[in-house]
């Protein structure tokens, strides 16, 4: 029952995020400037996340949750806790993965998918999203948030993804939601909640120890 209520809340929050009418942002440059400025003040970010994976041939969506941590310049930790244990750490150009009893330590260059996703996530949090030359961006806004749509221009990314939608809160200029739409139409949504900005996150979080 608790899970059902949680799913309903999650679906409702996703719906409300996209249901508010977005309009074209008039001064894109001013927003970019402000966004970069605000992001400069974010040294670290910790939040909970809920992920919804939608695959066309599955009747139900795959919903998982966990904890997200980010620390500048490019350290990222995503720890999935439900319904399975999985730890993903990006520490500059290294990726550490802990799944069950396995630990894998690889270079981001050895796995393109990891590289794309982790780079986008880091870019979104650190304000570099507009500097990523692999994507073309458009920006819309409503009363509460900005909707940045990133369309890949690089061929290798185009073969994986159609677009990435990022919703940025107007209150604190952090990412509220990230949606990755694949070429097949399947998509993955990440919703971030209970955010704590500039909380001290120890080095150990990004070493997998």
């Amino acid at each position: 029952m608790k899970n059902f209520a949680f799913c309903l809340l999650f679906i409702f929050s996703c719906y409300s995020c996209f249901s508010q009418t977005y309009k074209v942002l008039e001064d894109k440059e001013a927003f970019q400037k402000l966004y970069i400025e605000k992001a400069k003040n974010i040294v670290s970010l910790e939040s909970k996340f809920v992920q919804e994976k939608s695959i066309s041939f599955l009747e139900k969506k795959l919903i998982s949750e966990g904890t997200f941590q980010f620390r500048k310049p490019s350290m990222l930790r995503m720890e999935y806790t439900k319904p399975f244990q999985y730890l993903f750490i990006l520490n500059n150009d290294r990726v550490i993965i802990k799944s069950n009893s396995h630990e894998t330590n690889i270079s981001t260059n050895s796995n393109k998918v990891f590289k794309i996703i982790s780079q986008i996530t880091v870019d979104c949090v650190s304000g570099n999203v507009f500097n990523n030359k692999n994507f073309k961006s458009t920006i819309l806004e409503n009363n509460d948030s900005y909707l940045i749509t990133l369309v890949p221009s690089a061929t290798d990314i185009k073969s994986i993804m159609n677009e990435i939608k990022v919703i940025i809160s107007k209150a604190d200029y952090t990412v509220v939601k990230l949606e990755m739409v694949e070429t097949s139409g399947d998509f993955t949504i990440l919703v971030f909640k209970d955010k704590e900005i500039n909380k001290t996150i120890p080095d150990a979080s990004f070493t997998g120890k």
């Binding site: 599955l58 139900k60 069950n100 990755m180």
Partner: protein, 200 residues
């Protein structure tokens, strides 16, 4: 009596409902909608390439499955339709899009699910502690399932021209009714795959 005991245990085992069908024992459970899909965490290592993600399979009909591997955080890595003796590749990321890799994936997945031996000729031998079923897939290829009745571990070995190509170990959950995890290892090149069941 021994055969009955062996059959009863085999009904309890299996990769969801696919593996028991190998033994021609229980086909009724395949009609239950809950058993037509499955999700596994996958760890796949081939040469220097490491991949983790989710393996999701769905039964499309009695002789066709669709399997996709997706990264935990985002997009699909592989999307393949498995037939008994062939496959159709819907999508693969550039790093995996090589015939030898896809063919290997196909062979691994159809052997794990038992799809390739569904209609193959078989020879069963039963001892006090072991049931072994040898499937002849072609003139040169055999797939041998063995089920240890004492410690409830099942194995499958894929053999080409008498040479062991890969082995699959099936591990069961606490109730011993369903496969909890699977480990596959190739012997002719550096490749292994671990699957662990996830309930969403």
């Amino acid at each position: 009596m021994l055969r009955l005991l062996a059959s009863s245990i085999l009904v309890l085992l299996g990769f969801e409902c696919i593996y028991p069908m190998q033994f021609g024992i229980d086909k009724t459970c395949l009609t239950q909608p809950n058993d037509s899909t499955g999700v596994y965490a996958i760890q796949y290592n081939i040469l220097t390439y490491n991949l983790t993600g989710l393996l999701i399979y769905k039964k499309l009909n009695d002789s066709t499955y669709r399997a996709i591997i997706t990264s935990e955080m985002g997009p699909k890595i592989l999307d393949i339709i498995l037939y008994q003796d062939d496959y159709k590749l819907n999508f693969a990321i550039k790093q995996l899009k090589r015939k030898v890799v896809i063919k290997s994936f196909y062979n691994d997945l159809v052997s794990i699910t038992g799809l390739n031996s569904r209609h193959a000729a078989s020879n069963t031998s039963v001892t006090d502690s072991m049931v072994t079923i040898n499937y002849t897939l072609s003139k040169k290829n055999n797939l041998i399932y063995s089920n240890n009745l004492i410690n409830t571990i099942s194995n499958a070995t894929y053999i080409v021209k008498g040479e062991k190509k890969f082995t699959i170990h099936y591990f069961y959950g606490q109730k011993n009714t369903q496969v909890d995890s699977i480990f596959l290892k190739h012997w002719d090149y550096k490749m292994d795959m671990e699957l662990r069941k996830i309930k969403f």
